[in-house]
Symmetry: C2
Subunit: 155 residues, 2 copies
């Protein structure tokens, strides 16, 4: 685990909220200790309900690496990926997920989450992806606080 | 349920396989009895592991309607949406899913599915989306048979 990658994911989330691009979520894909791509939620900016941080960053990393197989990569998210994003990570064959805040935190804040944890998705779906929860949780919640004050709508 | 919409989803899936765009899946979004968008899997064509038929068609419909809220819409898929796509449908607030083949059929064919059914996702996640399985199942399996003969890789 590299703290600097999680810090970058948090910075992406803060950037997204401050520019009103969408919800307070950021994600970074790294390979061999280097950042391949970093992104944030673009749901409002792109008018695209699927443009969660993880989806956007997977698309960017696949384009950059020229392959749909990201099995050498790891992903850092300030929040536990929602079931859509967890499943996208599975499809991209990413080997490990690091996250800070939980889906339950996002739901509590006001988002319309399907409250199914990554560990539940992994066990039910028999996915090989490794999941590391609780990374820098306190810092990961900072973008949530900014979003709550931003006046942006929950969706 | 409108059979013509499912036929269009099947035709999309067949087109996608025949043009080597990706896996044998198609989807249609309809509103008030009219087609808003129809699409097929573009994972190989776009080199994008997230470009499942439902994700692509949701993005297209949101763009066309100018909103991330597709709560007046229904979606037709020749195969039960995978957990990524089910969750995308939830986020887009689509009210009803019609599908033919099952995730288990896609897994049996060779795809790396997270085998979590839509009814399981719905009950665990407390989603309001309605799910109508088994629509024109035999015809929905036709693109699967073509894919099996196509020489395209499973992913």
């Amino acid at each position: 685990m590299e703290k600097k990658f999680m810090r970058l994911a948090i910075d992406e989330a803060l950037f997204g909220v401050r520019h009103k691009h969408g919800a307070p979520f950021g994600a970074v894909i790294a390979k061999n200790g280097k950042v391949i791509a970093s992104e944030h939620n673009h749901v409002l900016k792109n008018n695209d309900p699927t443009a969660h941080a993880e989806i956007v960053v997977i698309r960017k990393a696949a384009k950059k690496l020229g392959t749909i197989d990201l099995s050498d990569c790891e992903i850092y998210s300030n929040c536990e990926p929602c079931p859509m994003c967890f499943s996208a990570i599975h499809w991209a064959k990413i080997k490990k997920i690091y996250f800070g805040a939980k889906i339950a935190d996002a739901k509590k804040l006001g988002f319309g989450e399907l409250e199914i944890s990554n560990s539940k998705m992994k066990s039910l779906g028999k996915s090989k992806v490794k999941v590391v929860p609780g990374v820098m949780r306190k810092e990961c919640l900072k973008p949530f606080k900014e979003f709550a004050k931003s006046g942006l709508d929950f969706y």
